[in-house]
Structure formats: structure tokens, C-alpha cells
Symmetry: none
Subunit: 205 residues, 4 copies
Amino acid sequence: MAPKLRTVPRKRPVQDRSRATVDAILAAAAQVLVKDGFDRTSTNRVAEVAGVSIGSVYQYFPSKEALVGALVERHNEAMRAAVLAELQRVQVLPLEAAVRAVIELIVRAHAIEPALHRVLMEQVPRTGRLARVDQFAVELHAVIVRYLDAHRARLRVQDLDLAAFLAASAVEAMAHGAVIYQPHRLDDPAFLDEATAMVVRYLIA
Amino acid sequence: MAPKLRTVPRKRPVQDRSRATVDAILAAAAQVLVKDGFDRTSTNRVAEVAGVSIGSVYQYFPSKEALVGALVERHNEAMRAAVLAELQRVQVLPLEAAVRAVIELIVRAHAIEPALHRVLMEQVPRTGRLARVDQFAVELHAVIVRYLDAHRARLRVQDLDLAAFLAASAVEAMAHGAVIYQPHRLDDPAFLDEATAMVVRYLIA
Amino acid sequence: MAPKLRTVPRKRPVQDRSRATVDAILAAAAQVLVKDGFDRTSTNRVAEVAGVSIGSVYQYFPSKEALVGALVERHNEAMRAAVLAELQRVQVLPLEAAVRAVIELIVRAHAIEPALHRVLMEQVPRTGRLARVDQFAVELHAVIVRYLDAHRARLRVQDLDLAAFLAASAVEAMAHGAVIYQPHRLDDPAFLDEATAMVVRYLIA
Amino acid sequence: MAPKLRTVPRKRPVQDRSRATVDAILAAAAQVLVKDGFDRTSTNRVAEVAGVSIGSVYQYFPSKEALVGALVERHNEAMRAAVLAELQRVQVLPLEAAVRAVIELIVRAHAIEPALHRVLMEQVPRTGRLARVDQFAVELHAVIVRYLDAHRARLRVQDLDLAAFLAASAVEAMAHGAVIYQPHRLDDPAFLDEATAMVVRYLIA
DNA sequence: GATGAATGAGTCTTCATTCAT
DNA sequence: GATGAATGAAGACTCATTCAT
């Protein structure tokens, strides 16, 4: 008897399957990292949770550092995207509204996988490519400097680099702190009002 | 065999010799931690650098966690001392001067072994007694709330807890950021002026 | 860091290769245990003798206790099998012949890897799952009680539980002692005659 | 001023003090051995429990083996004494009474620090001088052979060495088992009756 | 004699990584 | 591509023993 004709693909296209594997590994890595902390996270455990063999992990990530690095990059990318997507809209707002909007964006960016964010910020050793954990903060600084420069006229601060450093540090810390330690603040409009007040009153005469 | 982790110091030194040993171990631990990062810090390496045998390390610190914990406590104590010592003096100052003085104290506290501070804050997993890495920040918050409450009359902020949280987060972040990433700022009087401005303008009507 | 001891085998071998590894490890463990005694037996030495890496030992046995435990279980199983296999045949024999046959079975069971048996009985700390070293003796008692109960009519003893305890203790000790300290007795038919006499005369009027 | 005349010894005679120290160490060793088992017993812990410094332990016992060995010897001595003291009295008893008396003595000997006895028998590696853990059993065998020889006339057994081995093994096991696993048996007169019956019926025609 | 700080070989165990199937 | 058995360097920690005080 003639064998049945197979009309459905034996497997999904190679790229798709790979993509799914990579995603599963990264998701598992994030999960284990959050649950066990950085130095109790083992590649074997990640493979197990991902439901793939340890060999497959090394197929895509040549080292533990590469694996965590990918996670870091992905997380930075997500935060960056959350902010950048809206930044166009913010440009045209009056200063007070702009500051408030930016703070809101930054808080929202911090609210992306906050537990992962915390582990990444608090435990991942800043060595090699893992130094980029706070890449987002660095980029944020630049964005803010540019923004301030564009609105220089109305500002009381002169040294924009210093002002951006201070404002960015402050906002970043408030956002981080709120998300991590005081999540209930996030629903309180007073939080945003006050944070905005601090920055606005600082920047504007 | 694997007994439960013990995290309290094993015994108090009774001879002079052992005091020196304990100091050498802590100094070596700080040094290795700064140089190699938390998870490349091994107790064996610490012993080697301290010039004592690994047995001596465990004579005084029953686990790696206890060793790092001792360092954390010692560092917190140093920061606390640097701030508290001057706090009496600050109480009687007018608000603007008080804010400036407190910021200065906090910056100075952050300048105590900044490299160690950084490793402790960035890499030590907040588990068990190691959770206390940011003990200092917690205590600071309480101090600030009390201070604000005492000067309530002149403040524009109403929710003192929120204000303290925001101000403390901001100041802590500015101090931390300056010490770690922008040490040159520390010599620039503008840094202190601006930081003070941000907080004062936020707090006072 | 020192996690809780795990004492259950870590996984079942799925490939042929791993079956061979497990066997090699157990054989090596038995050999080292016999040669060096329990507390000079190290997992590293076992790995070395087995010709596998220490990692492979822990792949299959999550702790030293689990390794020795597996050996204990295997040994108990072998002794149990040696006795149980013949027990059906014994049931139909007249009492004297049955007692002789049972003693013979017990002696034979003790002659299975007697050196290992000795180390297991004499040195393995009866803690946790290792308490089962004398599991075989426990089961033996039950078997004997059942047997006596079935032949109650011809017995002079009344308290079968006591009689079983005494007879089992006696037989077990004679078998153990003969195998360990007087192996030459094993070939002497008088040994079996006498042991049988002691038990038969005790049990039967 | 002339110093007060001291009329009381500044300290007890050297031998006395040493004796007390040695006793404290041995008592502590027994206690730790029973509580923690052989391989969790450390010399440092023994010193601590004894209330002396580790140096003092090594003053009197040059090694851990020597320490445990002393305990073994002391225990053997105590068992031997308990039996030998009464043995003269037993010699003149008729056979049945003698067997009963000896069994009673052996049981009583096993009831001396039974927990220590158990650890010594079950966990101490029989190496070097520690081989003597069952020294008592060896000596007992000789005593029994001599006794049987003296009463040869009434015996049904011929090979006295074999008979002594079997009887001693049996009695020792019954005593050991009763003390360790069935302590309630010890108060039941039936236990002694039955054990005696087994041996007497075995020995005598 | 007594003390206890110090020692360091040796133990158990983990985990990133490799590679034959 | 995927698998998972195997590896072994390295790390945390113990404890018998020594010796300066």
C-alpha cells in the first residue's frame, strides 16, 4: 500500500521553532532569576523549566553570561520602547505637562516586569556585557538633556547636564522605589503630582 | 553533610590575636568583594588575601553569608554614624540650611568606601540577613519623616510620608549616582546647591 | 551554600549508558565501603574507583546518604529475595525440616556479600533512611511469627511474638556470627544441626 | 605585712584534678556520641561539653581514636565487672539455675548505658584498637566454654566450642535486642524463662 | 598543666560547559 | 537541531590536630 501522502509540514519552519525555543529559554531564565536570585540560577535549571535540554540552551546562548545578557538587553529594549513610543507626543506638551508625562512614562517603564527589573538591577554583576544592566538609565539621561535643551528658555537651571543628572537620578529612584517598595503608591495620583512638583519646581523659575 | 546555614557570628574574640585576625578577614573580604564582585568572592580567596587559613575564617564567620553580613553591618554602621553624629547640630538650623546639611551628610556617608558600597548595593542578594544592605536607607527615611514633622508649619507638602519617601529617594539617588558615576561632581559646589534647591523648592511653599 | 540533604535518587536512567554508570558507582561504593569503612568512604573516592567523574555520582545520588542508602536497599532486597524465593517450598515441610530449611536460608542470606553486610550493619549510622539497614531483620521477624502461627498446634511455646523474637534474634545472631567470625563453620554440617537443634528443642515440646 | 599563711592546698593534688578532667572528658564523649552518633562527634564538641579546652582533651587522649578507645575499654570493663563479680556465685549453681543466672547477668550487663553500648556496637569502625568494641563478647565466649567443660557430664552437646559460640551468640543477641528494641521485655519474667528454656533445652539432654 | 587560636587537608556538593549519539 | 550523560574545576565548610602563650 502506498504510504499516505503527507500534506502538512512535518514541522514548523526552522526559524519559527528556533524562535519558540529561544523564547521559552528566555522566559524560563527570567522566571528562575526572579524566583531564585542570580547566583542560584543555573543553566541546567533554566533548561529544565524551559522544557528543553541543556544542550539546546547552549545552542542559542554560548554561556550563562550570554543568556543573562540577552535578558538584560530584552528588558532594556522593552523599557526603551515604552518610553520612546510616546516621546513624540510629549515633545509638544507644555513643560509641566511634559514633565508629568515623562515621569509617568518612566514609572510605567519600571513597571515592566518589576521583579525581573529588580533582580537585574540588584544582583547581576556589572561585568563584561552585563555592565549594560543600567543601559536604560544612561539613555534616559541623554533623552532628558536633549529635552531640556529644547526648552531651555523657560528653565531656571543653567547647567543642563547637571540638572539632567539630578532630575534623572531623582525620577529614576522615585520610580524604582515606588515600583519595588511601595507599589500601592502607583495608584495614588498624589504620587505623580508630587514627583512632578519636585521636578517642575526645580527646573522652572 | 550540609547543616543549616548559620549566620550569626560564631564567637567573640577574647584574645588580642583574634581581634587582629577578624580585622584582617573583614578587610580582605571587602577588598576581594570590590575587586572580584560578589559571586566571584570565595571564602578561600578571602582567607588567602587575609593571610589566614580558611579554618580561621570559619572560626569567626560560620558562613559566607555571615561574613558578608558582617561587612554589611559594619558599613551600615559607619554610614549611620557619619550621619547621626551631626544630626543634632542640624536640627537647629533653618530649613534651607538643614536640607543642605542633610544632603551633605548623605553624600559624605556615601563617600565612605564607595566601591564597597556599590558592590554591596548592586550585587549582594537581599536574602536572609543580607536583606539589610539598605538598612541605612530605611532608617534615613524615618529620620526624615520626624524632621519634616517638626517643621511642618513651613512646608507646602501635606503627606509627609510621601514627601519623605520622594525626597529621600531623590537625595539618596543623587548622592549614590554622584559618588559612583560622577565623582568629579563632588568637588563642584553647584552640585550641592542644585540638589538642595530641588529638595527645598519641593518642600517649601 | 548548604541546601537540605536530598536522599531520594535524583532520576531514573533512560539511556543504557547511564545504567552502566549507576552500576559502576554502586559497585565502587560497595568496594570502598568494605575496604575503608563508612567514614573513610568519600564520594570522591567512590567516583574515582568507579571510573566516573564526581559529577556523575551526584547525577544519580544526590548525597552520600542517598548513595549508601541505595546500597542498603539493594542489599536488603537481595537478602529478602534469597529467603522469599524458597519460602513456599518450606511451608509444606514438617516442622524440624522447616526450621532447618529456614535457618539454612537465613545463613545463606547472610552469606550474600558478607563483608558489605558487616560494614552496613556495624558502621552505617541508623539515621534517616539509613535506619533501614536492619530492615531485613524486621521483615524476618514477621515471617517467623506467621510461620509459627501456622504451626501453633505442635509448639510448646505460647507467646508466639516472644518466641519469634527470641528465635529470630538467636538465628540471626548465629548466622551473622558464623558468616563474619567463623566462616569455617559454614561448611561444617554440625553447625546447621546444632542451630536447628537449639530452635527446634525450644519451640517443640 | 606578712602574707596570710595558706593552710589549705591551693589546688587538689595533681592526680585528682587530672582524674576529674579525664572523667569529664569521657562523660562528655559518651554524651556526644550517644546524641550525635559517631561521625558527627567531634573532639572540639566533646571539649566544649566537657567544659575543658580542646588542648586538654589532647593532653590526655592523643587522638580521637584514643578517646573513643578509652570509652570502649571503660564500657567493656564495666560489662565485664558486672558479670565477673557474680560469676563465682554462679559456678556452684545447678545447670538450669546457672544458665538462668548467666543470662540474667548478660542482660544486666547490656543494660549498662545501653544507648552508649548501641552506638559503640553499631557505629564505631572496628579498626585499630577500636576493634575491641566486642572484646566483652570474646571474653564471654571463653568463660562459657570453661563453664560448659566443667559440667560436661550432663550435656547433650559434644562440640563445646560450637555450643558455646551458638549459645553465646543467641544469648547476646537476645539480650542486645531486648535492651535496645524491646525494653519492656526486661520487666517480663517470661522473657528470662523463655531465654533460659532455649539454652537449657539446647544444652541438656 | 591549661588554653584556645590557628591550621589546612580533605569532604561534600554544585554547575557551567562539552560532546557523542 | 536536539538530547542528556558526563565532566571536573571550584566552592563552602568541617574537624582532628598543633603550638604559642
